[in-house]
């Protein structure tokens, strides 16, 4: 399989005199893969995800996604990269509360320059597939946690990104809803969507990812395949 994400000797330090959040991490992620990044709080897993998404810059090392050196891009270049390559799901959804569900989903498509009719059709298709089609005109504050995370997933997928990044996607949900979201992610991966999932929940990682990397104190402590179903 082709390599989609490559990190080479990547370190990230927030304070010049502090311990690195990530230390000399080198890893590859192939296209279509589902990878879970695990580790205790403060181990550096979210930092790793942010570096891959271009939301933050490494202190040293190279980050390449889809053949593009993310660490070398300008702010505008990073914005363009995120629109085209990345779909991101956060633990606390990060929806725009002053926009409707439909507008939230449409916004990345509009940023990417997708024709209006096509964007609308894609948004409707996603909302229907995620079973929130009836909430298009609602505002996020009126939805349940699970519904909001579905909206976030729809927004992340609207531009058909090469890479879907999920940072603790079930962390703010009850277990039943979390399971539903997990199943959704698994289905997406089954259809070819590359997925990197950050979680501190070993059961979730084992169930929904085919490969698990464990990070401890900013370093890759283990990298192993799981028996997750496909």
């Amino acid at each position: 399989m082709d390599t989609l994400v490559r990190l080479t000797d990547v370190s990230k330090t927030y304070d010049s005199d502090g311990a690195p959040a990530l230390a000399r991490v080198t890893m590859d992620v192939s296209q279509g893969e589902s990878l879970a990044v695990m580790g205790p709080s403060g181990s550096g897993k979210s930092t790793l995800l942010n570096l891959i998404a271009g939301l933050d810059r490494p202190s040293r090392g190279e980050v390449t996604v889809g053949g593009e050196r993310v660490d070398k891009l300008s702010e505008t270049g990073l914005a363009r990269f995120r629109r085209r390559q990345i779909g991101m799901i956060f633990q606390f959804f990060n929806l725009l509360d002053d926009m409707t569900v439909l507008d939230n989903v449409l916004l990345p498509a509009q940023l990417a320059g997708m024709p209006t009719a096509r964007a609308r059709a894609r948004a409707d298709e996603l909302l229907a597939a995620l079973r929130i089609g009836s909430h298009g005109d609602a505002y996020p504050a009126r939805l349940s946690g699970g519904e909001r995370q579905r909206v976030a997933i729809a927004r992340a997928l609207v531009n058909r990104p090469a890479l879907l990044l999920a940072d603790e996607p079930t962390g703010a949900l009850d277990s039943a809803t979390g399971e539903e979201i997990g199943e959704l992610l698994l289905d997406l991966n089954s259809s070819g969507q590359t997925l990197i999932l950050v979680t501190h929940n070993p059961a979730l990682a084992a169930r929904y990812a085919r490969r698990v990397i464990e990070i401890v104190d900013g370093r890759v402590a283990s990298d192993a395949a799981t028996g997750a179903r496909r």
Binding site: L55, R57, R83, M88, L96, D98, Y139
Partner: protein
Amino acid sequence: MRAMSAWPPAAAGPAVRAARGGLSGRRVQALVIGLVLLVSTAASTLALGLLVDSNSPFDHAFAAQRGSEVTATAQASTARLAATAHLPGVTAAAGPFPETTVTADVPVTPPPGVSGPPGGGIFQTQLTLVGRSSPGGPVDDLTLEAGHWPTQPDQAVMADVRGPGEHLGAQITVTGAPGSPHLTIVGFASSITQTAQAWVLPSEVAALRAPGAPGVSQMLYRFSSAATGRQVGADLASVRAALPPGSLLGAESYLTVKLQDTSSIAPWVPFIVAFGVIGLVMSALIVANVVSGAVVAGTRRIGVLKSIGFSPGQVVASYVIQVAVPAFLGCLIGVVAGNLLSVPLLGQTAQVYGVGALAVPVWVDVAVPLVMLGLAGAAAVLLALRAGRMSAVQAIATGRAPRPKHGYAAHRVLGRGAWARLPRAVTIGLAGPFARPTRTAITLAAILFGVIAVTFGAGLGTSLNRVYNDLSHSSAEPVQVFIPGAPGQNGGGGNLAKAAPGPGPGPAAPSLAAQERAVQAALRAQPGTRHYVAESDDNIRVLGLSDHVSLVGFGGDASWTGYALISGHWYSGGDQADVNTGFLTQTGAKVGDSYTLTSGAHHLTIRIAGEIFDPSGGNAEIIASQSALAMLDPGLAPDQYDVALTPGTDAQAYADAVGAKATRPTPTPAAPRSSSSSSAWSRR
């Protein structure tokens, strides 16, 4: 909310859609921005419009009439005066024109419904009269407003500030001249620099001069450099040097006339401008504060926008639109409100200048909202740029809590020593502002300017109250007893001096002397009298000054009457006088100088003992002993008594009691001394 979803259309840019979301989600914030811009734009439009219009009418008329930059009165030969037209720096000159000051009687018929002497009265006034063969000329090209220029000796054109009884065809009598010649008013003309109050043919002036009056002439000049008082002073010095010593009796700069013309609005324009500037600064600070608040509150939102692909430019655009929409609406309504508010104020200004109608200039209507929008936009751009440059992760993290390390020191200090005795909740609150120092500084600056505005407004009110007290003398002389029919009762440039011959006999009025005796007796007899002094008022014309001079003469010690002294001391002795600021400005004299006044054939040299606070409508005012001022104005006679009361005496009861004892006089509690310009009888 549903209605807003229809806008903007789906095809609109993401920045616009994000801005719309921000606007609908923060309506109070948008409302505050809009209101701040509305008020600031309205205040600035009003202030700037008034400022521009307070100067422009004079300037336009001055340019159109080729106004006289220096109007000089001199006693020199025609040839010597004519030669001054060729002095270096003189670009144009007119004259010499023969000049004199005359006393004139104008018959007055009271309008229907207004009480007055039976058969009408005589309006007595003094005029600076100049002989000119035509209204035109290279300098002071008069505008003939009505009628025609004199064609024969017994005709006059009056300045177009029509006093009572002055109309085309009216006949005035020059009382001081031999034979009391009559002049028929054949026209009205205006001179922007008020070079005279009446014009006749040059050959007529000699016949109108009072016996003993000097044969003086008027010269009008324009110079290559006369923009400032210093330049005009230098120009005048060159004219003075070219004439025989002492022959230049008086000279007036157009800057003085301009100052007088603009004085009706000049006192409050600075306050409006100051308020406008404060409003401008406050609006900038408040907008910066509100926008920074919006950015800080929206930092997490910025992080989210960036995480889904917004570029820094799109973030800036989104936030600038979010500010620009309410700001634009505020400016739009503000400029309309400013224009509406200016209507009554500019109407008054137009009346003062006689220029028909004034409006806020178009460039002000365009410039003010643009500047205000620019200010708001700049504040928005600067703060949004800063937020736009943050990484998405940093923005999301900062949106949840202040950036690390900010305010740590304050927290540490407030947690130790004496501070530690305070409740922890208090010290946390005190340290809070240090976490966002820039925003705290902007808030402090806005509060500071707010306090300045409140202090300024309260101080202005207190100052105006003090001005009222100083002008009314209500504390020092709570009662003033007026003598009806006495000269000076009209307070203006002329006096309603005597009744015209009526058709039948009427009740005989007591003589002024008898009335004075009655008032004095009543004041002496009335308990509660502390001091009283006779006051004589008149307005006369003196050579070298375009406007009349107010004379206030006292028949005894009047140092207690409540005049506020700006400098110097109260006059003592017959050769001393106190003058107001207007006198010093118009004559160029200083406290301590001696100054000679010439009115008709009468002269008076005074030493200026002090400068008093009495704007007197921009006119010059002299306060001295009655006996001294009578040398300049022999008709000066007491017209009122100023009375100070012993502590605890009720002014109204005292006035009523004195009124009952004195037959004709009418005592009243003191009111503000009316300035001559506010009188219907005034003459400019």
